[in-house]
Every structure is written in structure tokens, then in C-alpha cells.
């Protein structure tokens, strides 16, 4: 807070003096500091005054001279009996206590305890204190002495000299020990300052407390009849002292008391302003303190009460504008208080925030303006002498300068009163009210924006615009109004929109803005404007005038003195040297002409012309002629085809750049006109979309004044884009023929250009399903069914895109002959994958066709595509099974080392087509050997039909192998192809299969049996069993032959022998078959004591069990003789 030295009484009605608005701080005067020449003093002063943060004690400091003259204290009257107060509160009183009469006067004095000339110094100090005391005679102001010392003080009680001299100084200065301070100017100056400050604060609080009590003491002398004003004054003073004391609770209570007293005062025209001023001040204090105490509801309700109470207390009717000014100020200052509280952390809500108060203030300001207009027109001169001369030297707040201190009901001098009123009215006339209203509205706008009230904000902006209009700032008004119309339009508050547009039209006329004038006119004639048809006619006439380069007639309601100015402006604007061509975006307004455009189809082949239709409908009062219609497409090349110039505006007889572009753009209200355009798509656009980017309709001559109405896309303005209602068909019954139903016209802003249909025929000759791994043969036959020659034919064949990745990886396409034109075969190899795959054949060629466009035939080169795709299933050609068997054809899981075994392959044809096996091959691994010398395929050139089988059998042996028990056999490969393949050149397919591994067991014994393939009854049969010892040890073997009924035999019936390592033992038998047939052989039991049970089992597997015995044949000759 800056101290206000010289102050003036605010002259405006309801103005708040700064000493009321500021926060009252206790006033402390510092004397004896020489801040100009003494650096130490300067540092001390700065530590008190500079950078006072809010956490410092609430005091205001001021440097005064030691011999400063304080305001004289008037002698207090002992009785109020004959005292008639002349007003409520004196204008100087608050300032006096804030800035002139200190609560504490501090005398700074340089004096150390060890000062040599102590006596003299003490005397000097005492005299200084005396001077101050003298000046403050009669006041309760506290005096304190601060000794500025060079040395740091010793702890209390240690420095005997100091204590003694301090006591002496106190008594010399007549000072209490508590008012003497020591300030060593050491490094810790700031810390000492804070401590001193706190001490001063305590003293100041004491002072203000005493002052408040002094005022209170007067109360008992007052009586209710004559001293009503004093009740208010005293309560106000007590409250103010308490505020200075920083006791805000008591202050608030006292202000409320004061407010109650003010309300009780008898109000009449002469003192109304004074009462309102004071009650406004007190109300301000109450609200401020309530907000300060975090009781916003109290503040709001107090303010409401205040406003409601004084709302109708206008006072002097000739000065009614003063009341509005006062109300305006009340609302404004409360808004400020509220806003301040919010900034200090209060939360406001949408329905209760400062914006409302600013808005109301603005409303009262507007009211004031109107009252001023009504009341002040006669006050053209300031009366002489000026009754308001003393307006800034009032003794009491809110009094009339020409009759200060007057408190009776009737004014003392009616003539003077009249002059005074006239002077006030004259002064009011000088005020530019708009500049009071606009900032208030602007504050309100900011608040409503903050509290999510967009519509209220817009309303206030409209009001601001109106106010700018009244303030003759038409450009600003126009921009402001322009910013809000959009929302009203979108929300379809037509009445509001119309009123704003009317206002804007006036502004546009007055500033002669052709562009705005035309835009607003377009909308005012439109279907959203709620104005009479006469007005619409008027607007349209003026619009046509502007478009044909003539100044419009003045808009009704414009201030006449500005009309002349505007006429000149229009003349300049529309002079032939100025060309006024501008674009008006239709999606931003609701114009009187509607537009819809559509392509007739959503798709179109490249060889047919595109059909584009534009529908226009006007809703103005009388017919209107446009000059040009353009449809702009995303490919600018077509724009020339879609331009239509009105035949009447260009040259008349029509020599224009395009033969087909003359038409009639004369629109009759309510009728729909259709304009059709036709053009052929360019080859580059085939496969793309052609879109309407915008439609431009020109109004006026392009040479001088022309408005280009531009619709983005295929038409639709601000209303039809956002309005559901306009999309709904409102007509009932079927539409009449030859008449367009506007709501049924859809917007089709785009068309896809697809290639011309191909007449090429593609045939794919092939025999599905394809077999896995084969070269699949397919023949493509392309037949040209076109009437015309085709060029640049090319063909692609392959898998169709978008199939599984694995399919693409496992398919290869080969072409036999690369000549296009002659059908060429192509093979497809598919690898190791069954399932569906889609083959595609795609051809592409150019053809030149003739297209009729606007009745003209013209050649167009079209690129055509033809595609054919087939789905080919792939199946396995055959099923191959591998079996391992013992020599007895028993299927075995594992084989014995050195013992021959059989490998059986079994090929079962699963293909629906017969296949021929050209060859098969067994590729043995190193661990397995063939028993035969050479391996010869048994399947060469074997043909198989579906479900037929072909088998092969190989005899193999696995030599003794010590490392592995499981050994791989090797690979088996089959070379095959389709049996009846048309194409001889197709290679055979070789399919190789890894054979399974076999488990090789090492056995201790191996028995080889030599036995004839068959025997004959009663014919001896020679059988040899050779038993090999495969181990590295001597083996003991027990062998026994089981007797059999079918045989007699000779040889060992039972024998025991030993076989040396890697050696053998031969057992020889002669069998004598007794019965024919498939006879069971006598069984040889082998037993090895070392491996009990194993040998017999082995023998069982290795030894043949049966033999075929033929019956004894009859002698041929016997039969012949018999």
C-alpha cells in the first residue's frame, strides 16, 4: 500500500475513496533517521520499508522529521447536548488515521552504552522525545526510542553499565522501560528489525484499542433524536479502529452496527446521496470482511439485502441517473470483491459468480445512459457560477457541494438547488456511457466464459456489439456480432439471429463494407430470418443495387448524421476502379438460395459420360438472376465442363468459350431448377473417385461487383448441415410429375470411375485336382470378343493375391512359351501342401472407343481389365507305407544284427487320375546293406488307378554295429507322373521319402536253418541247423528235438555242446514226413544256461515252424498200366 499524502474526495457518484478500499494498516512514524546522508540509517529504513511481504506484521511505516507537526488535536467536547452534526462521515477522517496520525512515533537515536559524553547525549535524546510529545499533545500516540548502537549488546544482566544507563535514560525521557529499544547495526539487522516491528505492532494495537474505546465512550452522551448521524459515525469509527488494530471480527461486528444505523436514518431527497454513499462504503467493508473470513454466503446475502433495500430509493427524480450510477458501482465493486476472493481460493459455481454482478452493473450503466438521455437534454450549459466548484473539497462524503453540511429536508435555496441539478445534468451529458458499459460487459464475458455459460457469454457479446454500435464504433460492432451469429444460427434461434443480423446490416451499411453487407443481406432474405416480406423485399432490392454497382438505400434506424458519411463511402467503394469480388462461404450462413448437387450414379464406367446435376432453389421475395454457376471437382481438368454462364449477363448473343455453357440462371422463388452437366472421365482417373469439392454461384458482374457464393462439397448450408428437421421429408403424398421434391434430392458428392467392361474371354483348361509336387498343367485361352482392335495386351498369371503366405511360398509358376496372343501353356508347381489355392489370370489392354458427350462423338482410349480365377485343390498323389518284416513276413519292430530282414513298400494311389511310376529307388544308408548284390526297382512303369496298390520288397541286413542301436535305413524315392498327360514334355516328379530308422538288437545266438522248400511224404528230408555264437565268450548250449507225430527223424534227440566265440555248431537231421500238407515241423529247443529263456524264444522266432509236404505221387506208368 502506498501512503496517500494529498487526497481528493472522489467526485463521481458512488465512487469509492482509495483509503476505503485499501487494507487499513497501523501507522508508525519513524523519526530521527537521516536516510540521505547516513548509510546506516538508510539500511535501517530499507529493512523496514522495502519488500514488505504478506507475512510481515501489518503496519505502514513513514519517515518523518523529529519536529514534524502532527494534526492538532481538537479539544474534546464534554457534552453533545447542543451539537448538531452536519454530516455522517468526514472525508478526511480515514486518511487522517491512515497517513497522518501515527499510532507509534519512534525516535531513533545514535547512542552506545559506553558513550563518553553520556550526559550530553542523554539530554539530547530527552529533548527530542519532548519535541515529539509536544507535537502530539492530547493524543494517545505511543512514543518509543530506539538506540542505534555500534556494538552488539551483552546478554541482559551482565552489562551493569547498560542497565544503569538505560534506567537513567528512561527516567530522563519519561519513558517506560518497555518503550526503549536497542538496535545494533550488525549483520543481523533484518532479524532485529523484525523484532522491533513486532514490538511496534503491539504498541500500535494498544493505541488503536484505546482510540476505539475513546469513541465508544462518547456514546452515552448521544440521544436518538438529534444525533442519529453520530451513531453511524461512531460505529464506523470504532470499526475502522478495530480494523487498524487487525481485529477484523470486532470490526465486522461494528460495521454491521453502523450499517443498521444508516438504514434507520430518515432519508429524503437532500440527504439520499449521502446515505447511499455511506451505506455503500459500509456495505463494501462488510462484504470484504465476510469474504476475508471465508463466509462468502454472508457477503452475498448482505449485498443482496443492501441492493434490495436501496433499489427503489432513487432520490431526486431529476438526478435518477445518479442512482443508476450508484447501483452500477455497487454491483461492480462487489463483483471485484468476489473475483478477488476467488483468486484467493474461493470456489464459485455456474449460477453464482462475479459475472452476474458485472452483468448487473452493466445493466445499470445502460439504465444510466437511458436516464441521462431522458433527463439531461435540456442541460446544455454549465450554470454560472459553477455550483460544483467545490466538488472535490467536500467536508462530508456524499453531500452536495452547493449546500454542504445542510441536513434539513428542504433545500435551503431552491434557485441554487436548480442550478446544482442542472450542473450535474450537464456534467452527466459529458460522460461517454458506452465506455463504462463495454468494460463491464467485457469483465462479465470473461467470467461467464470461465463458468461454462457459453450462451450467456454470447448474449453479453451481442450487448457489447450493440454498445459499440451506440458508441459509433461500427467496425468493432460488426466483428463482435459476426463472431456470435454462428452459434445462434446453429441453434436455430431465428428471432435472435434476425435481430443481430439487422444490427449488423446497419453497421455494414454505415462502414460501407460491401462484403459484409452482401453476406448479411443474403441471410436476411433467407429462410431463417424472421422479418416481414416488405423488409425482405427492401433488403433484396438493396442487395441487387449493390451487386449492380449502385449504392444501396440507407438501412432504417441508422443515425442520420452518419448516413451522409456512409453514402459517400459507398460511392467510393462502388466506383468503377474498385472491383469488389469476394467469396461468401455458404456453410457459415443460411442464405436465401439453396444448392444441392449430385452425380446421377455412384459408379460409372470409363466409356460413359458422367452425369452431374445441380439443383438450385431460391426463397427470396422476387426472382433473382445469377451470373455464373461452377462446379469444382477434385480434378480441376473437368471444371471447364461444369461451368454455366447466364446468357443474359454475358454479351447477350453468346460468344463464349464453351458452346454448352449458356443457360438460364434466373431463379423464381420457391421453384427448383436443375442444371445438368456431362463429361467423360480421363484415363488417369479410372479407378479413382471424382468428388465435388465445391460449388460456386456468382451473383453480380465479375467486372466490378460480384459475390461468389461458395458451397463446400455438394451443397448444404449452415442450417441444412446441422438441422435434422430439414432432412426430414415434410411433404405428404406422392410428388407431382415434372416437379422436384427438394427434400428427396440427396447429396451425392462423389462418383467412382471403374474401368470399361472387358469383352475378352479367358478360359482356363486344366484337370483338377492338382497333385502334390506335380507340375500342374493349365492352358489359358484368351478370346477377343471386342468389335474393335485391342492394343497393348498383357497377361498375368499366378496365385491371386491375399492368400496364405505359405501358399505363395510353396507355389511356383513357370511359363512354357512367352508369346502373348497365342495361347501358351503354363505350369504351376506346388510343393508339399495340400488344400485350396486360387489361381488368377488377369489381362489388361487398351481400346479406343467413341463416346458421345454432349451429342458429340469423341474417341477415348480405355484400359480394360479382365480377370478369371479358379480354385484348384491339391491332393496327395499316393499314399506310401513302409513296413519292416522278418524273413517269415512277420512285421517286426526291430531287427537283429546280421540277420536279414525285409523292407516292404506299399504305394497306394489316391489320385483320381491314374499315375505311372517310372522308377523307384532305394538309397540305403551306410548302416544297412542289401542282401542282393544289386537293387533293382520292381515298379518300373507300373501304372496305378485310384485305390490300386503297388508294393516292393527288399531284403536287407543290418551288420553288427556297436555304437547305435537305432540306425537309419536311408531314403526311398519314387519317380512318377500322370499316366495320360497330354503334354509329353512334362518332367516326371521325383518324390523322396526318408525311411524310418530301425532298432537293431544284438543277439548271442543265431540259428541258420537249411531246409528244402518242400518235402514229400515218406521221402527223407535233409535239414541242417547251424548255430552261431555271436558273443565273445564260449557259450554252452543245450539243444533238444521235440518229437512230432508227423515226422520221424534221425539225429540228436537231445545234446549239450559248447560253441567257441565267433564259431558255429552244426546239427544235422533227417526228417521223414509221414503226412502231407502244411505240416508242423518238429521243434528244436535251444537253451542256454547262461541266458535262461532267451535262447528258446530266439529260436522260436528264427526257426521255421512249418513245411509243405507233398503227398507221394503215383507212378505215371502204374496209372497207365492200371
Amino acid at each position: 500500500m502506498s501512503a496517500v499524502e494529498s487526497f481528493t474526495v472522489p467526485t463521481g457518484v458512488g465512487e469509492f475513496p482509495p483509503e476505503l478500499i485499501c487494507r487499513p494498516l497501523g501507522f508508525v512514524a519513524l523519526t530521527g533517521l537521516d536516510v540521505i546522508y547516513n548509510a546506516v540509517h538508510k539500511a535501517i529504513w530499507e529493512s523496514f520499508s522495502a519488500n514488505r511481504r504478506p507475512d510481515r506484521v501489518p503496519l505502514s511505516f513513514k519517515i518523518l522529521d523529529g519536529d514534524h507537526e502532527y494534526p492538532k488535536c481538537r479539544s474534546k467536547r464534554s457534552s453533545y447536548e447542543w451539537y448538531i452534526p452536519k454530516g455522517i462521515t468526514k472525508t478526511g477522517w480515514m486518511n487522517k488515521h491512515l497517513n497522518l496520525i501515527p499510532a507509534v512515533v519512534v525516535v531513533f537515536f545514535d547512542l552506545d552504552w559506553d558513550e563518553t559524553q553520556w550526559k550530553e547525549k542523554q539530554m539530547e535524546c530527552a529533548s527530542r522525545v519532548e519535541v515529539v510529545r509536544h507535537s502530539l499533545q492530547g493524543r494517545g500516540t505511543k512514543v518509543a526510542v530506539v538506540l542505534i548502537q555500534k556494538n552488539s549488546p551483552l546478554p541482559p544482566g551482565e552489562d551493569m553499565v547498560a542497565a544503569e544507563r538505560a534506567a537513567a535514560l528512561c527516567s530522563a525521557c519519561d519513558l517506560s522501560a518497555k518503550s526503549l529499544f536497542v538496535l545494533p547495526h550488525s549483520d543481523h539487522l533484518f532479524g532485529y528489525t523484525i523484532r522491533l516491528e513486532n514490538a511496534f505492532y503491539e504498541l500500535a494495537q494498544g493505541y488503536y484499542h484505546m482510540e476505539a474505546r475513546k469513541v465508544k465512550a462518547h456514546k452515552e452522551f448521544l440521544n436518538k433524536t438529534t444525533h442519529q448521524l453520530l451513531f453511524v459515525r461512531h460505529a464506523f469509527k470504532i470499526a475502522f479502529f478495530n480494523e487498524l488494530k487487525q481485529d477484523t471480527n470486532t470490526a465486522l461486528k461494528q460495521y454491521k452496527v453502523a450499517y443498521a444505523y444508516v438504514s434507520e436514518l430518515r432519508a429524503h431527497d437532500t440527504n439520499m446521496l449521502e446515505i447511499k454513499s455511506i451505506s455503500g462504503f459500509i456495505n463494501y467493508k462488510i462484504c470484504k470482511l465476510s469474504f476475508h473470513h471465508n463466509a462468502p454466503l454472508d457477503a452475498i446475502s448482505q449485498f443482496r439485502k443492501h441492493v434490495d433495500f436501496y433499489k427503489n430509493k432513487t432520490g431526486c427524480s431529476e438526478l435518477a441517473f445518479e442512482h443508476s450510477a450508484w447501483m452500477c458501482k455497487q454491483f461492480q465493486i462487489f463483483g471485484d470483491l468476489f473475483d478477488e476472493a476467488i483468486r484467493a481460493g474461493l470456489n464459485a459455481i455456474q449460477t453464482q459468480h462475479p459475472g452476474f454482478y458485472y452483468q448487473q452493473a452493466a445493466y445499470h450503466a445502460v439504465n444510466r445512459k437511458h436516464l441521462c438521455r431522458g433527463l439531461c437534454h435540456s442541460a446544455t450549459v454549465m450554470p454560472d457560477p459553477n455550483p460544483l466548484e467545490d466538488a472535490d473539497k467536500l467536508e462530508y462524503y456524499g453531500q452536495r457541494p452547493w449546500r454542504q453540511g445542510h441536513q434539513s429536508i428542504d433545500p435551503p435555496d431552491p434557485a441554487k438547488e436548480k442550478d446544482g441539478i442542472q450542473a450535474l445534468q450537464y456534467k452527466e451529458l459529458q460522460v461517454d456511457h458506452s465506455w463504462i458499459i463495454i468494460p463491464l460487459l467485457s469483465s462479465a464475458v470473461a467470467q461467464f466464459k470461465k463458468y461454462k455459460s457459453a450462451r450467456m457469454k454470447r448474449y453479453l457479446m451481442v450487448q457489447m456489439g450493440e454498445e459499440y454500435y451506440h458508441a459509433k464504433d461500427y467496425n468493432k460492432a460488426l466483428t463482435l456480432l459476426d463472431r456470435v451469429t454462428w452459434d445462434y444460427r446453429v441453434e436455430r434461434w431465428c428471432a435472435l439471429l434476425t435481430s443481430i443480423l439487422n444490427m449488423s446490416l446497419r453497421c455494414a451499411y454505415l462502414v460501407a463494407s460491401v462484403r459484409h453487407y452482401v453476406t448479411i443481406s443474403l441471410e436476411l432474405i433467407g429462410r431463417f430470418a424472421h422479418i416481414s416480406s416488405e423488409e425482405k423485399t427492401h433488403v433484396q432490392m438493396n442487395l441487387i443495387r449493390v451487386i449492380s454497382n449502385n449504392p444501396p438505400e440507407p438501412v432504417t434506424g441508422c443515425p442520420s448524421e452518419y448516413v451522409e458519411l456512409a453514402k459517400q463511402l459507398w460511392k467510393d467503394k462502388l466506383s468503377p476502379e474498385n472491383s469488389n469480388i469476394f467469396t461468401v462461404e455458404m456453410q457459415n450462413i443460411v442464405p436465401f438460395v439453396e444448392c444441392k448437387a449430385r452425380f446421377s450414379t455412384s459408379k460409372c464406367t470409363a466409356d460413359t459420360p458422367l452425369q452431374l446435376q445441380v439443383y438450385l432453389r431460391a426463397s427470396c421475395q422476387f426472382p433473382i438472376r445469377f451470373s455464373k454457376l461452377c462446379v469444382l471437382l477434385n480434378n480441376h481438368a473437368y471444371n471447364d465442363y461444369c461451368t454455366l454462364v447466364d446468357g443474359h449477363t454475358v454479351g447477350g448473343d453468346g460468344e463464349a468459350s464453351y458452346s454448352s455453357c449458356h443457360g438460364d440462371l434466373y431463379l423464381t422463388p420457391g421453384q427448383i431448377k436443375m442444371y445438368a452437366f456431362e463429361f467423360v472421365a480421363e484415363p488417369v482417373d479410372v479407378g479413382k473417385k471424382i468428388e465435388i469439392t465445391s460449388i460456386a454461384l456468382s451473383l453480380g458482374n465479375e467486372d466490378n461487383c460480384c459475390a461468389i457464393l461458395r458451397w463446400v462439397g455438394a451443397g448444404g448450408d449452415s442450417a441444412s448441415l446441422t438441422n435434422v428437421q430439414e432432412q426430414v421429408q415434410m411433404k405428404r403424398g406422392p410428388p407431382k410429375p415434372n416437379e422436384y421434391d427438394w427434400s428427396n434430392i440427396t447429396l451425392d458428392p462423389s462418383i467412382s470411375i471403374i474401368p470399361r467392361c472387358s469383352n475378352l474371354d479367358i478360359q482356363l483348361d486344366h484337370n483338377p485336382p492338382s497333385l502334390m509336387n506335380e507340375f500342374y498343367y493349365a492352358k489359358v485361352i484368351i478370346t477377343n470378343n471386342e468389335d474393335l482392335e485391342i492394343q497393348n495386351l498383357c497377361m498375368q498369371i499366378g496365385l491371386k493375391e491375399g492368400q496364405e503366405n505359405t501358399l505363395e511360398q510353396s507355389t511356383q509358376v513357370f511359363l512354357d512359351e512367352a508369346t502373348i496372343g497365342i495361347p501358351g501353356p503354363s505350369r504351376i508347381k506346388n510343393v508339399e501342401l495340400t488344400g485350396n489355392r486360387i489361381l488368377g489370370v488377369r489381362t489388361m489392354y487398351d481400346i479406343q472407343v467413341n463416346v458421345t458427350q454432349n451429342k458429340l462423338s469423341m474417341p477415348v482410349i480405355c484400359t480394360c481389365y479382365q480377370e478369371k480365377s479358379v480354385s484348384v485343390q491339391t491332393v496327395l498323389p499316393y499314399d506310401l507305407s513302409i513296413k519292416m518284416a522278418s524273413l517269415k513276413f512277420d512285421v517286426v519292430e526291430h531287427v537283429h544284427s546280421d540277420e536279414p530282414f525285409l523292407l516292404l513298400t506299399d504305394i497306394k494311389c489316391t489320385s483320381p487320375w491314374p499315375i505311372t511310376i517310372e522308377n523307384s529307388q532305394l538309397l540305403l544308408s551306410d548302416e544297412v546293406k542289401s542282401v542282393d548284390e544289386t537293387l533293382q526297382s520292381q515298379l518300373i512303369s507300373v501304372s496305378l488307378k485310384q485305390n490300386e496298390c503297388a508294393s516292393e520288397c527288399y531284403c536287407l541286413v543290418a551288420p553288427v554295429h556297436h555304437q547305435h542301436t537305432t540306425v537309419p535305413i536311408g531314403h526311398y524315392s519314387v519317380q512318377w507322373k500322370r499316366t495320360n498327360c497330354e503334354e509329353e514334355g512334362l518332367p516326371t516328379v521325383e518324390t523322396t521319402l526318408a525311411l524310418p530308422s530301425i532298432t537293431v538288437e544284438t543277439i548271442p545266438l543265431f540259428i541258420e536253418t537249411k531246409i528244402p522248400s518242400h518235402g514229400r511224404v515218406r521221402d527223407s528230408l535233409h535239414v541242417t541247423y547251424t548255430i552261431y555264437n555271436k558273443t565273445q565268450m564260449v557259450q554252452e548250449v543245450e539243444a533238444g528235438m521235440e518229437p512230432s507225430e508227423a515226422f520221424m527223424f534221425s539225429g540228436h534227440k537231445q545234446v549239450c555242446f559248447r560253441i567257441l566265440p565267433v564259431s558255429q555248431q552244426v546239427l544235422m537231421y533227417n526228417f521223414y514226413p509221414l503226412v502231407p500238407g502244411h505240416v508242423k515241423l518238429p521243434r528244436l529247443h535251444i537253451n542256454m544256461p547262461r541266458y535262461p529263456g532267451v535262447a528258446d524264444d530266439l529260436g522260436g522266432r528264427m526257426l521255421p515252424t512249418h513245411i509243405f509236404i507233398k503227398p507221394q505221387g503215383k507212378e505215371l506208368h502204374e496209372s497207365a498200366s492200371g
Partner: protein
């Protein structure tokens, strides 16, 4: 004693506005329009917390110096706004509520007319009559 009765469509455009002092009609249009800010705020804040049972009556919307503005939102988001003079202390919350109920019933009846397309400006004579009655009859009571 309502001075202005209005019906606002779901999309916030006016379906019907009737004011008694017709000379200042535009101001009432603005008043009704601006109160939609509060209506929107109230409806959105309520529907967030409880979505099934919403009280249709919104109560006092704007405290203005001269008028009190009350709001009511149907389940189809059609808004009714009634403006009452602040000086009129006879009308309590309950009376306002019953006025809204009457208005809602009249609106429903009007909507049942097969020749009325929802969303059109209301031109029904019987609706008009009821609204006028609401604005006048309360004066006498």
C-alpha cells in the same frame, strides 16, 4: 403469473415461446436462451450420478435481478422454461412444479396430434390456450 413460457427442443432450438409483455419479447428470448447453459450443466451433472431416476424439475436456474427462471427437462430432453417476476412472491416452488406438470401434460397432448411432426414449431391452439391461462389465471388467484 408467469411472464414467459417456452418449450425448447432437444437440440436446443425454440419450439414455442410466449411472453406477456410482448414489446420486450427479444429480451425474454435471450433470457430463455441463456438459461440453457444452466439446464445443460444440471442435466449432465445429474445424469452422471444417477441415470435411472432423474427429477424432471430442475428448480430455479438463474437468479436475475428482475426475473426468476425455472427449468424442467422431460425424459426426451425437451426443455420447459418458465420465467416469473422476482417481485412475485406468491409463487412458491410447489406452484411452479404444478405449472410445469400442467405444461408437460399439455405438451404430451399436443404431441399426440397425428398432424404434428415432432420438432416443428408448436402452433396448437389448445396448447396456446393453456399457456395463456397459466400466465393470466395465476394473476387472479
Amino acid at each position: 403469473m408467469a411472464v414467459c413460457v417456452s418449450v425448447i427442443a432437444k437440440e436446443n432450438y425454440p419450439l414455442y415461446i410466449k411472453t406477456i409483455p410482448t414489446e420486450n419479447e427479444l429480451k425474454f428470448h435471450y433470457t430463455v436462451h441463456t438459461c440453457l447453459d444452466v439446464v445443460e450443466e444440471k442435466v449432465s451433472s445429474v445424469s452422471k450420478s444417477v441415470n435411472d431416476l432423474r427429477e424432471l424439475y430442475l428448480g430455479l436456474l438463474y437468479p436475475t435481478e428482475d426475473y426468476k427462471v425455472y427449468g424442467y427437462v422431460t425424459n426426451t430432453k425437451v426443455k420447459f422454461v418458465i420465467v416469473v417476476e422476482t417481485s412475485n412472491t406468491l409463487l412458491r416452488d410447489n406452484e411452479i412444479r404444478s405449472m410445469f406438470r400442467k405444461l408437460h401434460n399439455a405438451y404430451t397432448d399436443m404431441l399426440c396430434n397425428p398432424f404434428y411432426t415432432p420438432g416443428e414449431t408448436i402452433k396448437s391452439r389448445s396448447f396456446d390456450k393453456l399457456v395463456l391461462q397459466m400466465m393470466v389465471s395465476e394473476v387472479q388467484s
